[in-house]
């Protein structure tokens, strides 16, 4: 087991290396000059060249990449080109908010999605099932901005139950987490439903029922644990996705997460920030998948870690 985790961590390091290389390459190839963004619109050609030299951006690709890696292993993510702030400071200032929202959102997704999925499976073919199916498609097809703004408008502006965006108290967390929870629940509920249906048909369920076990016990104790496997994989995917930042929800609710930082950096070609954010989210993705792969055998002992 430990050997497996160690192996995965080494592989993850290689993946991060690969991601850093690809990202650096894409930024190098991108026809948008970061030096022009720094030098501003009134700069002379000499100023531009001078800045380019100072930042080492006139060096060949491998030299620049090597220098970046060298700094990286010492924990130095560099300084933002435009803000001159340490990238580590910028990242650390936003990570707690992102993590908090991620955990809350995943919880909401699970609660809403799994419940609805189980209910749908148990009422297969009936009107309730079809209604729930419709609602999951609606939530998945709805544009994030619209849902976020709607919830904000109804619950914060009109009803005044929650603050209109912002960060700091649990009350501020509710609406953004709920928005993400609703938007993502469609996937979980559909997968849960189909997984449950698959499991409910299995012989061991018939056996359990034949033994006289109550419905609830059968569903919760026997069917659910077996059906939940694909959900685990999805949580891994979700962790990765949330850590890459969800710009839209963050900006509607004024949530100081990584998404806004990344989006702004991309617009302004602020390379150190883009690299930093990409690496952080890559790390989250590999960890999320690793956790999913470690939890899966716990749920289904047949899966062996090799």
């Amino acid at each position: 087991m430990l050997a497996y985790v160690a192996r995965r961590l080494i592989q993850s390091a290689l993946i991060l290396l690969g991601v850093s290389f690809i990202t650096f390459l894409l930024l190098y190839v991108l026809p948008a000059d970061p030096v022009r963004q720094i030098a501003g619109r009134s700069a002379t050609a000499e100023t531009v060249e001078s800045i380019r030299r100072q930042l080492g951006l006139d060096q060949p690709f491998l030299v620049q990449y090597g220098r970046y890696l060298g700094n990286l292993v010492q924990g130095d993510f560099g300084r933002s080109y435009l803000q001159k702030t340490e990238v580590t400071d910028l990242l650390l200032s936003r990570l707690p908010a992102t993590l908090l929202l991620m955990v809350a959102a995943i919880l909401c997704e699970l609660v809403i999605g799994l419940t609805l999925g189980v209910i749908a499976a148990l009422n297969r073919g009936k009107a309730l099932d079809n209604t729930l199916m419709l609602s999951s498609f609606v939530t998945v097809s709805a544009p994030q901005f619209v849902v976020a703004l709607l919830l904000l408008y109804v619950f914060a502006v009109r009803l005044g139950w929650f603050p209109i965006g912002g960060y700091g108290t649990p009350a501020h967390l509710v609406l953004p987490a709920l928005t993400l929870g609703i938007l993502g629940s469609g996937w979980y509920s559909r997968i849960m439903r189909s997984s449950m249906l698959d499991v409910l048909r299995a012989d061991f369920i018939r056996t359990a029922r034949a033994k006289g076990l109550g419905r609830a016990r059968v569903v919760l104790g026997h069917a659910l644990p077996n059906a939940i496997l694909p959900v685990v994989a999805m949580i891994g995917i979700d962790i990765g996705m949330f850590m890459s930042g969800i710009v839209v929800v963050e900006s509607v609710f004024g949530w100081p997460g990584i998404g806004q930082l990344a989006w702004q950096a991309i617009q302004r070609v602020d390379i150190p920030i883009i690299m930093g954010v990409t690496l952080v989210s890559a790390l989250a993705i590999v960890i999320g998948n690793l956790l999913a792969d470690l939890v899966a055998p716990v749920i289904d002992p047949r899966i062996r870690i090799r």
Partner: protein
């Protein structure tokens, strides 16, 4: 956690008595509804130049109010107009082309690639499996947005580039989920039993593993229609896909979403179209799955 008594569903026996698939499909009302919706979308896309009442790109002088606000659905413009005074209905018809290509082709490709990768990795495991899954991790962490911006600047924007980018990016999630499920299925006792009986990998995959994956694939494929259509809008915003004024359901929503309180038809009508298409595929897919699923034999 109770141990499962494994059972193997027998392959469907469609000899002799059972009616052909399409007839059984036709008997299910919801499936028929789904087929009708899909047919309508395709017909709308193909026949758009003849059916559309207006040129989708024509900005009508009488399509806006004096203050420049769009018109709600009415007699002259059935679904209303957009922010430049263009007929929404016509734009929806022409937009179907883009969205169908994305929703079906790009999404379908992503689905197929994801399944291949996930099944291979989950069934064969070992080094090949590990390599494939790490590659999947890499692709998941890949800065797709940057790639899109680079492509936008280098190539002339086209629908096929954005379709490619979407397929390139979207297969990873399917791969992860399929991998986990296949890992579980591959370890079941009946698989080992089949192998000792001499069944080849192909037969096992096709007859024992794949049928169990179909429900997941249906979910992923149908929900994927919605997400890919919306993703195409986001990528077009960055300059990768179709450029204005070419419409697509996704980009109509995207460019008008801040106006949804004052001009809700611009968001809800195309949204309903995307929803309908995804639902339609789901209805058909579900029905097909039921028909082909041997444990459902005799339940029509």
């Amino acid at each position: 956690m109770t141990a499962n008594v494994s059972t193997s569903p027998e392959p469907a026996d469609l000899g002799g008595g059972a009616p052909p698939v399409w007839r059984r499909l036709a008997r299910r009302r919801l499936a028929v509804l789904g087929l009708v919706i899909i047919a309508a979308c395709v017909a709308g896309a193909v026949l758009a130049p003849w059916v559309a009442p207006h040129d989708p790109n024509e900005q009508h002088f009488d399509g806006l109010t004096i203050e420049g606000a769009p018109l709600p659905p009415g007699a002259a413009f059935w679904f209303g107009t957009d922010l430049l005074g263009r007929d929404l209905f016509s734009r929806l018809l022409f937009g179907a082309r883009t969205s169908l290509v994305i929703g079906i082709v790009a999404n379908g490709t992503a689905l197929v690639i994801g399944t291949l990768v996930g099944v291979t990795a989950g069934y064969f495991r070992g080094i090949a499996g590990a390599v494939l899954m790490r590659f999947t991790d890499l692709m998941m962490a890949f800065p797709a947005l940057l790639l899109a911006i680079c492509l936008a600047a280098i190539f002339s924007p086209s629908l096929w580039i954005v379709a490619m980018v979407i397929a390139f990016v979207n297969w990873v999630q399917t791969a992860r989920v399929i991998f986990t499920q296949t890992s579980s299925l591959a370890e079941r006792d009946f698989i080992a039993a089949e192998r000792t009986l001499g069944a080849g990998h192909g037969r096992i995959l096709l007859r024992h593993i794949l049928p169990h994956l179909v429900p997941t694939l249906i979910v992923w494929g149908t929900l994927g229609i919605s997400t890919t259509v919306l993703l195409e809008a986001k990528l077009s915003y960055l300059g990768v896909g179709v450029q204005p004024p070419t419409p697509s359901w996704g980009n109509i929503i995207f460019e008008n979403q801040t106006y949804f309180q004052t001009a809700p038809w611009l968001v809800f009508i195309p949204g309903a179209a995307i929803l309908a298409l995804a639902l339609a595929f789901n209805l058909v897919g579900d029905a097909l799955r039921d028909i082909l699923d041997p444990t459902q034999q005799g339940r029509d």
